[in-house]
Symmetry: C2
Subunit: 348 residues, 2 copies
């Protein structure tokens, strides 16, 4: 495909409906409400405390945090809706058509840090941008176990696979690979966890993996898969909106059964110490690599809402290596590498 | 000053002595030895464990860590010496003359995390680069108290001021301001601590603050001071080497008296929890802003040595604010802002 063909196609991009911002904003607040309600029910001890805030440059948000709960040591669920005169350079380099235009962005993001080392940490984010002639959806959810169970990784992935397949057969295979690629700690040679789905810049142009991220190149697995399936026809604003809505609704059924299966596992100091150590990787990823976090910190976002993703207690230990054959070693050997979880058949 | 004049001056840069690398490397290992010996004496319980490592692309290092000591919860002191075909783009943009040349770099760096919240965390780094026609020294030391004492900040600064003044009257005023500027957490609106000195790109060109850092501009206090004093004449490789040697030797007398004054202060859970919380800022600075850390992580440095700077235990707490009038509030109000510590006269 040549550049000139791409440019030609781009001019045919659908316009969003006139009430697009209101509809997505309403979806994002509903998602925050639904998730908070589901998490409070499973936690059973604590409830979310809410702070609303206003962004002086335009917009604001609603941050909710649950601390010292029955299940969750900390759970943060944010909604925000912001607008301004121009997108930051990192985004404009991927969407040059947005240059010289104001922008609107809204999204919901969440990170849960359970107390038990047997319950995985989990992250979710869905977002929507409009800027001049362009608009796009992004998002995903990924799971980070400490003492992992293949059964949990399989459940999480299959649930999102079904959700994706209901909208397009190429979504899950592309966005699963993209997730493995994005949540990768290069300096550790590890994925953040067992992944899930991740996507960005989804619009009616029909290219599933439409960009070259800094530090990646078109030979990534996600890019290759996207190339192999070619342009996906007939995607509209409406069906992408519906897809994101489905993904959002899929979080609780993907995660809560895992909590239920693991909440009564006993653990001791060894497991707790390993969990605190592994939480350090979450900090490393979010502060070194995560574009949302870095963008927020460098552009006067609300620091306390952005850093709500960081764990309440974390440990670093120089030159730690798990004992060969231990449960901790199993995490490294099997679960911190990209795996085909939906087709997993080992006895792990 | 015009660009063409600067270019003209640059051509007069001194060549380093033929044995420059050996002499700086020996200085850096001696500094590591001296510091480790002094810290073991004051710790009294634990000793440093050493790992030597080889960098496949050229060079290697000697990492030393003391864990769970009498004074130090963790102390990391690294020496490294590396070489390769080209410097990374971020450095080349500041030193374009190095383009197309191989490079040599050596340095010693240290971060100490004491157990007591009354003993400040402290960082030191001295480094030397050669690349084609250019060479330079960089480094500094800065102090990060939790429950602060003006007396300690004054002692630390006056000790480095005396060391600097023995070499040049403009060094301390420039490098103190540069330190406040560099160790600044923009997203928190705080300095990392009470500062100290920081300098980079020091060569025989005679410009004390010779560059524009990303995110800063020539109106910074350090840049203004440097401009006001103009070019510093007659700096040679030899007297910069001697200056760095003096700075290195100044660390123990700047820090150990503070340890001695604070080591017997009793503290409880409140102070410990606040220390763990404030350690989070150290993590945020090192992973979000510190160019050495980010450069190391993104270029296949030895991860365990680079991240030895991170604290052994850290806490984050959503939307924490110190109680007005409390000792914790005093830290924020007085000690996390640039202050003229050498002339400090308040009763704090």
């Amino acid at each position: 495909m040549t550049v000139s063909m791409e440019s030609e196609q781009k001019s045919t991009a659908q316009l969003p409906p006139t009430d697009s911002k209101e509809r997505v904003s309403e979806l994002m607040t509903s998602l925050q409400d639904q998730i908070c309600k589901g998490l409070e029910q499973v936690d059973g001890v604590e409830t979310f405390q809410e702070d609303t805030w206003i962004r002086p440059e335009g917009g604001g948000g609603r941050s909710r945090v649950l601390q010292s709960g029955g299940i969750f040591e900390q759970a943060g669920v944010n909604f925000s809706e912001v607008w301004g005169n121009h997108l930051p350079p990192a985004i404009l380099s991927q969407r040059p058509e947005a240059s010289g235009h104001g922008f609107y962005a809204t999204g919901t993001s969440m990170v849960l840090h359970p107390r038990s080392p047997y319950i995985p940490t989990v992250h979710l984010n869905y977002r929507y941008f409009e800027a001049g002639p362009v608009w796009w959806f992004g998002g995903g959810a990924d799971l980070t176990p400490y003492y992992p169970f293949a059964e949990d990784a399989i459940h999480f992935h299959r649930t999102f696979q079904q959700a994706c397949d209901a909208h397009h057969p190429h979504y899950y295979p592309t966005f699963k690979r993209w997730c493995d690629e994005y949540f990768h700690l290069k300096h550790r040679g590890e994925t953040r966890g067992v992944g899930g789905i991740f996507f960005d810049y989804q619009d009616s142009e029909g290219i599933l993996y439409p960009l070259v991220y800094p530090g990646t190149h078109q030979s990534t697995a996600a890019a290759k898969y996207s190339e192999s399936v070619g342009r996906v026809k007939d995607r509209t604003w409406e069906n992408l909106f519906a897809f994101v809505q489905t993904c959002g609704n899929t979080f609780l059924p993907a995660y809560l059964p895992i909590v239920d299966r693991r909440r009564h596992h006993d653990y001791g100091d060894r497991e707790r110490q390993f969990q605190l150590y592994r939480r350090g990787r979450y900090v490393e990823f979010n502060l070194v690599y995560d574009r949302g976090t870095i963008f927020g910190l460098q552009t006067n976002g609300r620091t306390e809402s952005i850093l709500m993703s960081l764990p309440p207690l974390v440990r670093w230990e120089y030159n730690y290596h798990p004992e060969p054959g231990s449960p901790e070693a199993e995490l490294y050997e099997t679960f911190l590498k990209p795996q085909d979880w939906v087709n997993w058949s080992s006895g792990v």
